[in-house]
Point group: C2
């Protein structure tokens, strides 16, 4: 095997971006205000996507709950950005207070960025001793790749076959899940999704190491110098694959032996999401060379970051200054600090570990009654459930799409991911409670019954 095409994708743009998108050609199925608002989105152009056959017009949120314009309450089992809860007053307070004082940029000294930088670095391995801030996960991954390339003097980056790492030109080129029509970078190579459910190996680490080795060999054959790997620590868009803790060790060992860097994309798994450890890669007891982060970092205020070894950063810094207008500004830092403080003060790591186990157990119990629920897996409050043809491991995307539409009718918001668009991505705000769990499991049970599964 020299190169892994996207043979696993069953139809166009199955990835995370289009799993249950509203079809704008069906605008006339909508009515009233919703129809008018959706119609108005024409000015935003055709790249934007709305969730659901009947899109949601959300007007408020509290904790794990979201409210539609008609007052309908939904349990949010999908959004990881408001990890400490929708409209968390700690964040509102921090942002408001800072906005009334000052909001400038990093060319002036400000204590917020320094206090936060130190607090954040304390969650990371000591070798990751530098932190820079950006506005989006895309910007963080864009910079991380450039740092890896300048340090190694290589170009070749390896990702998984259904990876999503962001939307800049560079990062889109290493994000195969964007869609088959988007050309990938010629110096990027893919390994297949480490599908622990279907691969039939109990040593996924060795399997994955061997796939990476094959792609490094292929790069050499093409005269491409290996720069490193860029892996989401829970393979979010590949279908949420926590795997056995530690399985990434042989992979990172190979990467280092081959002179490459290991970039951990923690934009989705970071900030207590996977339970037990603050960062997803820490479940595997590995030490990446670069860690990127974003989404839940400031509960919805634009904020992302890149933690990096100082010697790796220096290879970039020798040639490149870097300034990012809004990044690391006092307001973004105040919001990020409020999130980090909340996570610590509420011991969210323990809460997430506890609730995550209950969530996986709950779904697993339902699987006994509903055989379309295949593999149920998770780490903390990041879980994936394969929807399959009963008695097989064959993915059943049609049922998966029906199920998330049915769940919406039962007031639960959720989405899909994975190479076949058939994995339930269950990822509620971290403040998810036991009563939320009961509500979710009842709704899942009822929804499966509704669709005859």
């Amino acid at each position: 095997m020299t190169h892994t095409p996207l043979e696993t994708s069953t139809d166009e743009n199955v990835g995370i971006l289009a799993s249950n998108s509203f079809d704008m050609n069906k605008l006339d199925t909508l009515h009233g205000t919703l129809h008018d608002l959706v119609a108005q989105r024409e000015v935003l152009g055709p790249c934007y996507r709305l969730f659901y056959q009947k899109p949601l017009h959300l007007v408020s949120g509290r904790g794990t709950r979201l409210f539609d314009s008609d007052g309908t309450e939904y349990l949010d089992m999908y959004n990881n950005i408001p990890s400490i809860g929708h409209s968390n007053p700690c964040v509102t307070k921090a942002v408001t207070e800072q906005l009334t004082k000052i909001n400038t940029h990093t060319r002036y000294v400000h204590q917020n960025i320094l206090a936060y930088a130190n607090d954040l670095l304390a969650t990371l391995p000591p070798s990751l001793d530098r932190i820079m801030f950006m506005c989006s996960g895309s910007e963080a991954n864009d910079l991380a790749i450039r740092c890896a390339q300048l340090y190694t003097l290589g170009e070749g980056i390896i990702v998984t076959a259904e990876a999503y790492h962001g939307n800049t030109a560079l990062v889109s080129g290493v994000s195969p899940s964007i869609g088959k029509d988007v050309p990938m970078s010629p110096t990027m190579r893919m390994i297949p999704t480490p599908d622990t459910y279907r691969l039939g190996t109990d040593d996924i680490g060795t399997w994955m190491r061997d796939r990476v080795a094959e792609q490094i060999a292929d790069m050499k054959r093409h005269g491409i110098r290996f720069a490193g790997v860029l892996f989401d620590s829970i393979f979010s868009s590949d279908g949420v694959i926590p795997g056995k803790p530690g399985f990434l060790q042989p992979v990172i060992d190979l990467v280092h032996a081959e002179g490459g860097l290991y970039i951990a994309d923690e934009v989705q798994p970071g900030f207590c999401r996977t339970g037990d450890t603050f960062w997803g890669f820490q479940r595997h007891d590995i030490t990446p060379d670069i860690v990127t982060m974003g989404k839940p970092m400031a509960n919805g205020i634009a904020c992302s970051g890149m933690a990096i070894r100082h010697d790796v950063l220096e290879a970039f810094a020798e040639r490149n200054p870097y300034f990012n207008t809004f990044a690391g500004n006092p307001v973004a830092m105040a919001a990020a600090q409020a999130v980090l403080d909340y996570l610590r003060e509420h011991d969210m790591l323990s809460h997430v570990s506890h609730m995550g186990k209950l969530l996986v157990n709950g779904i697993s119990n339902l699987a006994k009654e509903h055989p379309c629920l295949g593999d149920v897996r998770g780490a903390g409050l990041f879980t994936g459930t394969d929807i399959v043809i009963p008695g097989t491991k064959d993915p059943d995307r049609a049922t998966a799409v029906k199920l998330i539409e049915a769940l919406r009718e039962h007031h639960v918001l959720i989405s899909l991911c994975g190479p076949y668009g058939s994995v339930l991505k269950v990822r509620p705000p971290l403040v998810f409670s036991e009563s939320d769990l009961d509500f979710f499991l009842s709704a899942l049970d009822a929804s499966l019954t509704d669709i005859g599964k």
Copy 2:
């Protein structure tokens, strides 16, 4: 002429990013809290820059004024992000109110993005009928280039020799002012800075068209298909060059005749900055194919955008979905709406035009007494003043650097730009008043006297 090297740069990294940066090797010249805070910035790595030999530790801001930790008040003559004033309560109120309601993303319907999109498009030519949102100007320019490339099926982008368009991999490659050690994109070509002061032509439009024509010819010779030009409408980092209104018409005509697109980078000149017209390109009565915007858009909350012709966008959208987690979220849109409302309700366009004329006149009057003040030019509240060897047009960077340090002693914050790092970039928040002007002109006069110029 086939290719314009950066022969105009006098020393390394002269561009906007390093014009008066603090030298971290001089840390021991600082004392007390400032010393400690600057020392702590080591964790941010060596890419960050601080303004001034003695960096500023700013803790609050109001309108055009900024306050240091010891209570010292400064007049801000540099920062264009807080265009409606530091800590403007309208923005704080809009952000706070929206944060208490909901802050999700564009996959749910929300009225804020639609109301703002329509209001914003109303400021633009009718052919620019689609608007998308990002977090940073870099992301907007990154996407704009990709759209131009997919529409034209070309790769070649032309910029000016001291342009700065952002910090992603793609956009850094078309930002020569980042520094001579940063490799530029092999398919990018540069034209010289359209230096109206030194070029000795009163037909800068024809001159510039001819330079663009040369670079298109060079692209053809190299088998690179021309995709378009990316020009800041006031050539901010080239030294602030407003030029005669209308001079860009022959340039855009050529670009279109050659099958390329004209991308107007309005990240700095947009949102009333240049006076008379809402957008910088409107001073020239041209209609770009894509317009990018950012910095002042939401007064410091991360927000940027790309306005584009629907047919150009469709070439991108056919292949690419696009999602940007934080972009266009209800909070960013509320902040942006507050800014736009403020600009309209306070008729800032008239205010800026009026104050801009007074500012240029005031500096020009001082030039009679201080012959190191060379060309004084501006549009609205975006002005540039060349610092020169008296009696010549030779740039005097050393004096320019001394001058901004002296101005800081007189409680005025300002910076430099241009190919020689010798142009005073005078660009206060738009709420700049006549008493601010008096304060500035007195400080400038005194500072020039202090440095013996």
